[in-house]
Amino acid sequence: MQVVEAPPIMDTMISVRGICKCFASNLVLKGIDLDVRSGEVVALIGGNGAGKSTLMKIIMGIYQQDKGDIFLSGEKVNLTKPALALAHGIYLVPQEPMLFPNMSVEENITLGFKDKKNELHTKILSIMEQLGWKLKLDRKADTLSIAEQQLVEILRGLLRNAKILILDEPTSSLTFNEVESLFTLIEDLKNKGISIFYITHRLTEVFEIATHVAIMRDGVITLKGPVGEFTKDDLIKGLLPPNTNLKTTQKSEVLDYTKLKPILELKNFTGYGFKDINLEVCSGEVLGVAGVVGAGRTEFATTIFGMDEFISGQVILDGEEITGLSTRTVLDKGLNYLPEDRHLNGIFKIGDAASNISSAHLRNLSKFFLNKKAEVALGEKYIKDFRIKVTGQNQIMGSLSGGNQQKIAIARVLSTSPKVVILDEPTRGVDAGARGDVYAIISQLKKQGVAVLLISSDFEEIVELSDRVVTMYQGRINHRFSKNQIDLDNLTAASFGVYEEENVQ
């Protein structure tokens, strides 16, 4: 990954040099160099937290870089706010369209312009005609489909004579036909000499639409160049951590499935954000659920847990149907869920350690008054078992380290003695030491015969812990791997939708 420090070139539309960005003490971008020329489409790919969005937000003037420079047509610019980036012809189409829901389409497009209304109106119509789009300008934005909202966003950019368009996962909420028309549009824009940053999670799209590709991982660009120079395998390699020996990751032994009984079964389970999920989890196994952000993994877990409505299908826990039951009932039946975002859903920050551990178990600890002795015993058990570092049970949760908070969150999940636990990103934001402890806890659970559904974007973690893996892609399970097939390479490829249509046995 030698990136040669190139001087800014006059014929580039935009060049960035040595961009660094730090959030708190976390270095998110570590010296990014990137050039885009007129009419190029640069596909920017990378896993979660690779720094793609941060880079784009810096270019858009939403964040300011700590180090490094941005050159537009060879000229150094200082983009301190979005208005400046707009004035320079840069336009970001965010992943989730940012329209004004209570305004009409026309207002949404023209807001912020000082030109005459009639002129803008005819200009919009002529752009739409050029592109062959049909969209009623007097519709209210909240009646638009996601695809239509995206069209409005792009129209906004075009009306501003944008020379550099940033498309952040534009296809993530589009249907197949809509994707086709978007690609036609991008071809058009390409021919007009507009430069495009195209952020995506779908490797197949790269070869379809991009002229260049840049892969980001952990805040650096690991690979870049014209698309023609690479194969899909090259791209996957660029996404993987350096020096990974793909086949030698340490694994536990293969389970004997003839002795295991499925405890949780999903049959054509469909909800908002996922569709036709079929899977079985056995007592005493860890089933990994891999995929990229937005693949529908969390939605599927929270729906099982009764936090969201399902559409169709069945969830069967230990022979009993629990589809669509309330969270409280699902908990009582023996399934518990560790949420993805610890701070948002997982802990009571100003409570103490003991009350956090016991909080899911309160109904069993109390008739009316809380049985304090039982609470203390419960707390002691987990603090010892999980090696949670606290000064005492009454230490306030918010003052603990991320790793210890997470262990307490897991302890709470386990305090209800579940038969099945769903762990959603259990080691996100957890330091290396505590991560090892969390892994040990998961292995121990497995030994005790608990079925574990492990959702993680950290594929190394999935490889290390899982007995079987399913990958989710665009809301569906697109691949299943048995123990001996699990490796980083396969998981990455499947998560980015590469061998969607293939069968690997």
Binding site: M60, I62, K81, P82, A83, L86, A87, L92, P94, E96, M98, L99, F100, P101, N102, M103, E107, T110, L111, G112, F113, K114, K140, D142, T143, S145, I146, A147, R156, S172, S173, L174, T175, F176, Y272, G273, F274, K275, D276, G294, G296, E299, R468, Y473, Q474, G475, R476, I477, N478, H479, R480, F481, S482, Q485, Y499, E500, E501, E502, N503, Q505
Partner: protein
């Protein structure tokens, strides 16, 4: 769903219908209510609330709230009343009041945008400060002896019995409505309240738009204060106390969404007429007008809750639609290991 959407589109119209319905109902019980004289009394009496509601509409449409307008009205009324009492020209009094209102608005705006204090807390604090200043400024005494010439302006009428003040307010509402809805700058307020991040992304200055909204709100409260002096003729240290609730309720009743981005000042004005008519309605129905504030509060809560329920449904549906769009519509490759 379609009728619901149509109803939402014409939010002012539904408040107007509400207004007419109330008047007709009360008129059916007590025909005296519908006498022209009484109706004019109601319209003329609503002017202070109309001005307050129009001002606070800017703040609410921008997605914030201002509960200090009652106190701002009180202080600017006290200031202008003392200046008039001491023989200054009405121009001086009006300018002084406007300065008071604009300053309070500026402080509120800076607190909310730059210091990032939630607007309900910021303006609640300022409400206390300004109310306190009213007491300090007047030594806790009433300001009386406002010149008759100034008081009589509020009595001057045109077209039979419509006061100049009320006709003037109608013109102001119309002009402000045009500025707010038909100009690019005017739409900034709604844009900021509708989707703050989106507004930022297309280069709308979010902070200065909000500060402007608070200043406009303060200025309208000050104008309302001057009119209050002319109508009432004296100012107590508690003048305007509780008016903020009436003004907020007026906005909500007029179809302005408390989450921002939606509504018009015409709606706010209609809401204000309804609000100020409540006490007269009670009298004509032979209830004690002591129920006035209670009924205002209940109305406010009912409308806000109904609005919130609709809003929640809309956002939940949008979220689900977004999630569903993400899933593959055709069957992907399945492979059972």
């Amino acid at each position: 769903m379609k009728t619901l959407k149509n109803a939402l589109k014409a939010r002012e119209i539904s408040s107007l219908i509400f207004l007419i319905t109330i008047f007709l109902l009360v008129g059916a019980i007590n025909p005296n209510f519908l006498q022209i004289k009484n109706l004019f009394l109601i319209f003329n009496g609503s002017i202070v609330y109309v001005l307050l509601a129009v001002g606070i509409a800017f703040v609410i449409i921008s997605g914030e709230i201002d509960v200090s307008i009652g106190a701002t009205l009180g202080l600017s009324a006290a200031v202008s009343a003392t200046l008039l009492r001491d023989g200054n020209s009405w121009i001086v009094a009006v300018i002084a009041a406007l300065i008071v209102g604009a300053t309070v608005g500026l402080i509120n705006g800076i607190g909310v945008t730059i210091l990032k204090v939630p607007s309900i807390i910021m303006t609640l604090g300022i409400n206390g400060v300004v109310r306190g200043l009213s007491y300090v400024y007047t030594n806790g005494k009433w300001v009386e002896n406002v010149p008759y010439a100034f008081k009589s302006i509020s009595q001057a009428t045109m077209l039979n019995s419509l006061t100049y003040f009320f006709s003037g307010a109608l013109v102001v509402v119309f002009i402000v409505h045009m500025l707010l809805n038909k100009t690019g700058r005017g739409r900034y307020f709604a844009a900021v309240g509708d989707n703050q991040c989106g507004a930022q992304l297309i280069g709308i200055p979010v902070d200065s738009t909000k500060i402007k909204a608070f200043i406009i709100c303060g200025i309208f409260a000050a104008i309302a204060g001057v009119i209050y002096v002319s109508r009432v003729g004296f100012v107590t240290p508690m003048a305007g106390n509780g008016y903020e609730m009436k003004a907020i309720a007026a906005c909500v009743l007029g179809g302005i969404s408390l989450t921002g981005g939606l509504g018009t000042v015409v709606g706010a004005a209609i809401g204000a007429v309804i609000m100020s008519s409540i006490s007269r309605v009670l009298v004509f129905l032979q209830f004690s007008s002591d129920y006035d504030n209670t009924i205002t509060g209940i109305l406010l809560i009912i409308i806000v809750v109904a609005d919130a329920l609709i809003q929640r449904r809309v956002t939940e549906n949008a979220r689900r639609e977004r999630l569903s769009a993400r899933t593959l519509s055709d069957k992907g490759g399945y492979n059972n290991a």
